[in-house]
């Protein structure tokens, strides 16, 4: 079965944050709630290095949030999408501390919430809302294998330019959302 995935290429991001607003709009999030955030990081080396770190659920193949949830409110589906069930969520926030990717967010209603990879939308529109708006293709969605090829090409290209980058989520500790990260 061909598997779908998303690739977030940090090196392309221009910090317009269109993705975060598209996410709020698509998922009808309350004021103050976010499933996706963009953080700016900068560091002065021999020259100024800056990158924009987006954070949202990476849909791990082996999700630790699912493991720690005391009521089984988090499940990973056949399609590889990790879904948190709002009704059953206790609001204990254990998953929030357990997630290594800051993917699980505390919502203003006391429960938690996270990216669903726009599963409600995938059938019709075939990609998550954040991907559709991204003006610079920093977020792309498609066949996992194809994305991996693209990502590896990009990594080689950037390394050739002297940038330190690495790809996360591609191999063993697989995630449905892969990240091409700029090392600071």
């Amino acid at each position: 079965m061909s598997q779908h995935a998303m690739l977030v290429d940090e090196s392309r991001c221009i910090e317009c944050k269109s993705c975060t607003v598209a996410c709020k709009q698509e998922n009808g999030l309350q004021t103050g709630d976010w499933w996706l955030r963009v953080w700016r990081r900068e560091q002065l080396k021999d020259h100024l290095v800056r990158s924009y770190n987006t954070q949202s659920c990476r849909h791990c193949a082996d999700p630790v949030c699912q493991f720690v949830c005391p009521v089984g409110a988090i499940q990973r589906g056949e399609d590889g999408i990790v879904i948190q069930d709002h009704e059953n969520c206790l609001g204990c926030h254990v998953c929030v501390s357990a997630c290594p990717h800051s993917g699980m967010k505390i919502m203003t209603n006391g429960k938690v919430g996270k990216c669903t990879l726009c599963s409600h939308r995938l059938e019709r529109i075939n990609e998550p809302a954040c991907v559709t708006v991204c003006p610079v293709n920093s977020r792309v969605y498609g066949e996992r294998e194809e994305l991996l090829r693209e990502a590896n090409k990009r990594v080689a290209e950037l390394r050739a330019k002297g940038m330190r980058v690495n790809l996360e989520g591609a191999d063993k500790d697989q995630t449905a959302v892969m990240y091409l990260l700029v090392d600071m």
């Binding site: 221009i14 607003v21 009808g28 559709t132």
Partner: protein
């Protein structure tokens, strides 16, 4: 403790939207990027969501956050829905009839008693093509003197370009960058200000266009470029002149183009002769070899394009900078060919001519510069003001502007929201939003696109098109000149403006992305200006030294208007403004999402913060000769030491309640181009309220 049952949250935190089949098509009218958008409506007919239009070739479904945010401003608590009149300091609802009668009566009275010049319009947000046309007809019939976006944004750029080439618009579409070998971006953070269109630049870069960014801030655009050249604030003219000098001295210009299509080359060469790359290096802080390499690259990598931004066109020596850089493009022969020219967000389709019979035209009995307007308002020469826009936030020395407006006899604000300027009005009129008005929209790609009305109004809002026609009727003016709908307005425009004669609504709607202008009735659409080498100056050539009678000269920003004569001991830093992707002008700040995305802050280098004694997030009072405001500190290495920058559009009458940054700029104009200064003013900064470290 025993077990307990935790209550379920009262409200779910999310509710994914349902996608409907039917979406309405529109064009985003915010930044002149002209992105195609799709609107989804809920059962009440309100905007549920805004998407990018994947069929629009210019944005291909991509959009920035702004159009998504904007739907909230349509329905938010700040929106003005019906006419109001100020009675003893509070606003009371009145009818349109009452409002129009009152305005007409006052208007006629001031014309008779004080002359046409006693009435002024500040109309930077007049509305779409229908409203613009009606407003220009009205102005011709009444002699109304208007200040549009020009004084606070485009005057220097447009005036200089007009003198050089005979047209103030950008000469080439942004989409042309994919044909360019080099793109020089100066003082323009297009990655944030036109994010939805930035893929043109990244795509060009991917296919081999060399992207060079010159800026004081290490912007998001700079980060995406092949080369970022950080320059001392306000010294761009020196860089431009040194590039000219180097290109001329080393015969790197295009001799055929210069000989055939330009005037004044020798004089220009003389003007720049003292500005060697060595001297420019001292002034700009850019190493000499970098300047020379840039000049060589520009000479070899042809065709090349230039994209200037507010960073150099709103400063106190803006005109000279624009002159130098655009003159440079001209002598390199980078005008008129595919992949060459000047990209600009100024894209005027040109006005109508000969619609109004000579007998009906009323000329203003006096005119004043934008800087003289303040004084004339204060001294009572101006009696009445028509506002569409928010000058109490967007004009320099905003506090002074507010006071001047308060002192006027009669003020009308035709507005979307209850903003800093509307609260000072005697009459407030509700305006339609661009999503509530049909019209033709020009973009940075030099195309016009037609948009139908996307949503219905929910109150008594009227467009500028309707307002000015109705007012003309009440005033007893020949109202038959006015169109009565956006559609008839466009037909009228086609009849009286040959630049758009060949662009029917049907043609725009049938052409994804719209139609390039000029496009005469029989002629083809023109993708870029001056393709035949004929310029719109009276000589038909580029007037390299026609900008001013004085020579092209570099004036230090500290010795230019606004800063000259002010003590640098007292004001040791430089204050400027820049935009971020989530906000556009004063419009977006009424959106909850925009509010969540970004709060006001002032960027400051860590060493400057240390010097002042402030940390991240602490309050700092920034002070200039014009006034002072308090802002939260954002420490970043993206700005040089001693340089402070904040966002220019927040107001007190908004969810932010932030004193406008423009209040820190004294009223001063760029001597060459005429723009009011809204960047690079010397300032002081102190920790506020004993909060220092």
């Amino acid at each position: 403790m025993g077990s307990f049952v935790r209550t379920r949250a009262l409200t779910p935190s999310s509710k994914p939207i349902e996608h409907d089949e039917e979406l309405r098509t529109s064009i985003c009218c915010l930044c002149n990027g002209g992105c195609g958008i799709k609107i989804s409506l809920d059962q009440e007919g309100k905007i549920k969501a805004v998407f990018g239009d994947s069929k629009n070739p210019y944005n291909k479904g991509k959009i920035c956050a702004k159009p998504m945010e904007i739907s909230q401003t349509l329905y938010g608590p700040y929106r003005v829905r019906y006419p109001m009149k100020k009675v003893n300091g509070t606003f009371e609802r009145i009818s349109w009839d009452e409002a129009l009668d009152l305005i007409a009566q006052k208007y006629n009275q001031y014309i008779t008693e004080n002359g046409t010049g006693s009435i002024v319009g500040i109309t930077s947000k007049i509305g779409g093509s229908y409203s613009k046309l009606a407003h220009s007809i009205f102005s011709e019939l009444t002699g109304l003197v208007n200040y549009g976006t020009g004084p606070i944004c485009t005057d220097s750029e447009a005036n200089v370009r007009k003198k050089l080439f005979g047209d103030g618009s950008g000469t080439s579409p942004l989409s042309d960058v994919v044909n360019a070998k080099i793109l020089l971006i100066v003082g323009n953070n297009v990655a944030q200000t036109k994010a939805g269109q930035f893929h043109w630049i990244t795509e060009a870069k991917r296919t081999g266009t060399r992207v060079v960014v010159v800026d004081t801030r290490f912007t998001e655009t700079a980060q995406a470029a092949d080369l970022f050249i950080q320059i001392r604030p306000g010294t761009d003219t020196a860089l431009g002149m040194a590039l000219l000098n180097y290109v001329i001295k080393n015969n790197l210009y295009d001799p055929t183009f210069v000989a055939k299509h330009t005037n004044g080359f020798e004089k220009l060469a003389q003007d720049v002769s003292a500005l060697t790359t060595e001297r420019a290096a001292e002034i700009t802080g850019v190493p000499q070899n970098v300047i020379e390499k840039l000049a060589q690259d520009l000479a070899v990598l042809k065709p090349g394009m230039l994209f200037e931004g507010r960073g150099i066109v709103c400063v106190n020596n803006a005109g000279a900078s624009v002159w130098a850089f655009e003159g440079l493009m001209a002598i390199l022969g980078n005008i008129g060919k595919p992949g060459s020219g000047i990209i600009s967000h100024i894209n005027n389709t040109g006005g109508i001519s000969n619609l109004i019979k000579a007998d009906d035209v009323m000329k203003p009995d006096r005119k004043r510069s934008s800087s003289a307007l303040y004084k004339d308002m204060e001294e009572g020469d101006v009696k009445m003001l028509l506002i569409s826009g928010n000058p109490c936030v967007t004009w320099p020395d905003s506090a002074r502007m507010s006071k001047a407006i308060e002192g006027l006899d009669f003020v009308v604000s035709h507005t979307l929201v209850m903003d800093d300027s509307a609260v000072l009005a005697d009459i407030i009129l509700p305006a339609t939003h661009w999503l509530e008005e049909a019209g033709a929209q020009a973009s940075v790609h030099r195309v016009v696109q037609w948009k139908n009305k996307a949503v219905e109004i929910r109150g008594e809002e009227k467009s500028g098109g309707d307002f000015y026609r109705l007012l003309a009727e009440r005033m007893g003016l020949p109202s038959s000149y006015f169109p009565d709908s956006p559609e008839t307005a466009w037909e009228l425009e086609r009849k009286y403006n040959k630049n758009v004669a060949g662009i029917s609504r049907e043609r725009m709607l049938a052409t994804p992305g719209g139609v390039h202008f000029p496009c005469s009735e029989v002629g083809e659409e023109s993708v870029r200006l001056f393709a035949k080498g004929v310029f719109k100056t009276s000589s038909g050539k580029v007037e390299l030294t026609g900008v001013s009678d004085s020579p092209l000269d570099y004036v230090d920003t500290f010795n230019a208007p606004g800063n000259i004569g002010v003590s640098r001991e007292k004001f040791p830093y430089l204050f400027s403004t820049n935009k971020v992707a989530s906000h556009y002008h004063t419009e977006c700040q009424y959106s909850d999402w925009a509010n969540e995305m970004e709060q006001p802050y002032v960027e400051m280098h860590p060493l400057t913060a240390l010097e002042i004694g402030v940390g991240e997030g602490s309050q700092v009072r920034v002070e200039t000769v014009a006034g002072s405001i308090v802002l939260a500190v954002k420490i970043t290495q993206s700005v040089p030491r001693g340089f402070l920058s904040t966002q220019p559009y927040f107001g007190l009458q908004s969810p932010y309640g932030q004193a406008p940054a423009n209040t820190l700029f004294p009223v001063a104009a760029d001597p060459v181009g005429g723009n009011l200064v809204s960047k690079n003013i010397i300032c002081n900064a102190k920790a506020e309220g004993g909060q220092g470290l």
